[in-house]
Amino acid sequence: MEPRGYLSLVLHAHLPYVRHPEHRYFLEENWLFEAVTATYLPLYDAFSRLVRDGIRFRLTMSMSPPLVSMLRDDLLKLRTAAYLDRLIALGDRECARLAGDATFGPIARFYRDRYGRLKALYDQLRGDVVDGFRRLQDDGFLEIITVGATHGYLPCIREPAARRAQIKTAVESYKSHFGRHPRGIWLPECGYAEGVETLLAEQGIRYFFVDAHGLLHARPRPPYGIFAPIFTRTGVAAFARDLESSKQVWSAREGYPGDPTYRDFYRDVGFDLPLSEVGPFIHPDGIRVHTGYKYFRVTGEVDLGQKAPYDPGAARERAAVHAGHFLWAREKQIEHLAAHMDRRPIVVSPYDAELYGHWWFEGPEFLEMLIRKLVCDQKTVALATPSDYLEEYTVNAVAEPSPSSWGDGGFSNVWIDGSNDWIYRHVHQAERRMVELSHRHASDGDGLRRRALNQAARELLLAQSSDWAFIMKTGTAVDYACRRVKTHLARFRRLDRELSEGRIDEGWLADLERRDNIFPEIDFRTYLE
């Protein structure tokens, strides 16, 4: 029996480029280690189990160039392995400490075993998580797409050449890591600005995503709403995020992750135990951090001190129930839509990959169970990637998407705000200078100058990351975000000065190339207009 419609699950995997070889321990590098441990390895593990069991699935995953670069960086791979080893060592201590505790002892053992398995998986992959996902793509299970080079929010990039550089650099990076041309792109923050489709067409990218109102407010109104893509005038397709399925997972009030049975994120032994117990497993200066050993469940709207003990078995059962509910809701949604449409609808459900596992501990299990049920238990809905859909439906309505993002409010309010708007004048100035420099030196054969120009391009790209403005707005690691913007711009400005003065400090340049080593193959001429 043919399906009546499609579900397109999209996981957006991204972290800003945080790599500090100059420090033995750097707090913000934990973002990567935690995401590898909580999200990327468990997702890879879940996908591998599905493949092993003969479950044919199709899922789209965007992997941002900074994330891919970090996952493949030798230094960060070593540090990730050390992080996993520390988790296991902490697990051994916790198991010993809680040996006689009938309530918490089994939870400690659950974590220790889990981290042991994840470390074995990491070793089996030789630390190359990207290669694991690449093989899943080559075998036809995943469609991996790219993201803007450093997750620069395109509506806030002023120079067209600088927007193009974000996209072109991302495409080149993707090709070097995945051995093929990317079919699609996740626009950073789902941020669409007029004209982006032209830059995507230049790079042979066939589709991107917008938030629901990006299509609902398109000119003219798309006849199928958000349940079929539109073609922009350049022939690049735009798919829209479905609100209903997003809300079921994301919603703070109604979403699954808030269920009382699920593991609580905030209670962690890194904060709960005395320093004498967790000292070696937190910041060397004694700053408490999350360790990944969390013994309590969400419980309900109670104080942290009143949380009830976590029960992994009960949580797993709950995830199965929620997977069944999500699938039932999609079946009903698609039956309803199919009755009104003269083609199969596609429901696009994009999520931050880090939601699955990092925030919602049981998320990867939910996803695995959802896919199993979807493939084995019903025939109404089938999984499809945007490429699959565009192969089946080659004719689509033409429309101009509306400027939009998936940030709070749906526009640029997160990235243009009193907390972060100071950055744009300076970043835009650097964009303009980069374009000027690339024109001035376009045919320059001097190796040192070329290296300086390429490094200037890296510094500009790193300064453009949307993460810095986002962090400033959300107020979590503001000083770090401000320092990153200022440091990259300072490095750019010095390179610019040295290029203008014809006096490049090679030692300093080599040091920068070692630190900000993203995009080793970058060519500054990407900025030529």
Binding site: H23, L216, S251, S387, H428
Partner: protein, 360 residues
């Protein structure tokens, strides 16, 4: 034992020497750190001075006589940064020098004592002695030492000496604008205004173009500004229009002399577009497993045709629900819970404190 000898030793020899000097876990230290600690044991602090001098030489123009600079790298700030990064010997060297220079400042002497103690007993002060030695691998050490990176940090310039204005759409109802006017730009605009130039007011002129019922409508509005450079938020003329902003001088007669123009931006529409006419396009699908770039081929493009489409959406961001997106005034209860769009959001919504830019 001097610095050159230490530098000439192999890593194994350094480990051996470190064990002799009772430096804990020498295998976990980088060559740089070993040298520092052994140097500190032997009272060699010249290395720190040499490094600072090398850094200074690297960053300052190489003139025969180095010019006096108000930013002497041997400052308390640099010493504190070194200490925060774990380069205790370097920090100590600077603190000793500062303490000798300003003996009245007891806090400098205190820092010297604290660092000397830390170098003699390298265990982290936050970890009580009762904690058994860690059975864990610390992160891989840095391939080389710091110090240059911190010196890249500098405050951004207040102005760039260029006439400039830029506009960005924050949402359908608000614009963000920044501008800069140079004395030369201002003078040129004054000249354009002739006799009225001296009484002219610096102004942001917001021009918008929209198509309504097939007619092109243009309008503009002026906002007086007092500063030659700055940034501010403005009300957008209307959702869905194209906007350009000029910074310039406006004479009492209303005559406007622009100094700089922004690019044009599209303000996002706040409601669904017209239902038609809808064009259709056929695009050749991508071939599976094509590794290289495959240009997009538009096969046909044709006019309207009858379709049976999706039902009307009855959702927060759906058709006709633009008001739900409009930002709420402070204190007003939102119509919709704002948390659902990105909850719990990206992984930066994390409770622990930041390292405030310093990793250690």
């Amino acid at each position: 034992m001097d610095l050159d000898k230490l530098n000439d030793m192999t890593l194994a020899e350094l480990h051996e020497l470190a064990r002799k000097h009772r430096i804990a876990d020498p295998e976990r230290l980088s060559r740089e750190e070993l040298t520092d600690r052994l140097g500190a044991k032997a009272g060699i602090i010249d290395r720190a001075r040499q490094l600072v001098r090398a850094a200074k030489d690297k960053l300052l123009p190489r003139t025969a006589t180095p010019p006096a600079t108000p930013e002497d790298p041997e400052t308390e700030t640099l010493a504190r940064l070194y200490a925060e990064q774990g380069h205790l010997a370097r920090a100590l060297a600077i603190y000793r020098k500062l303490a000798a220079r300003e003996p009245a400042r007891g806090e400098l002497a205190k820092e010297v004592l604290r660092l000397e103690a830390a170098l003699a007993h390298p265990r982290e002060p936050g970890h009580p002695a009762a904690v058994p030695p860690p059975e864990v691998h610390m992160p891989a050490p840095a391939p080389t030492g710091e110090p240059l990176g911190m010196l890249d940090y500098e405050e951004l310039p207040e102005t760039y000496g260029q006439d400039d204005v830029a506009v960005m759409a924050q949402d359908p109802w608000h614009l963000f604008v920044y501008w800069e006017v140079t004395p030369a730009g201002r003078q040129a605009a004054r000249s354009q205004l002739g006799g009225e130039g001296h009484a002219a007011q610096l102004t942001l002129r917001v021009s918008s173009v929209a198509t309504r019922d097939g007619r092109v409508e243009q309008e503009f509005g002026d906002i007086d500004v007092d500063w030659d450079h700055g940034r501010r938020y403005l009300d957008a003329p209307r959702p869905g229009v194209r906007v350009t902003v000029a910074i310039g001088l406006r004479a009492p007669s209303g005559k406007f002399a622009p100094i700089a123009h922004s690019r044009t931006v599209l303000v996002p529409p706040a409601e669904p577009g017209p239902a038609g006419p809808v064009e259709w396009m056929e695009v050749a699908p991508a071939r599976r497993r094509t590794p290289g770039l495959e240009p997009i081929v538009i096969v046909t493009r044709a006019g309207e045709r009858a379709v049976r489409g999706a039902p009307r959406l009855d959702l927060p961001l759906g058709t006709g629900a633009a008001s739900a997106m409009r930002p709420q005034k402070a204190g007003a209860a939102p119509d919709q819970p704002s948390s659902w769009v990105r909850w719990p959001g990206s992984s930066y919504h994390r409770p622990p404190r930041s390292s405030d830019g310093g990793g250690r």
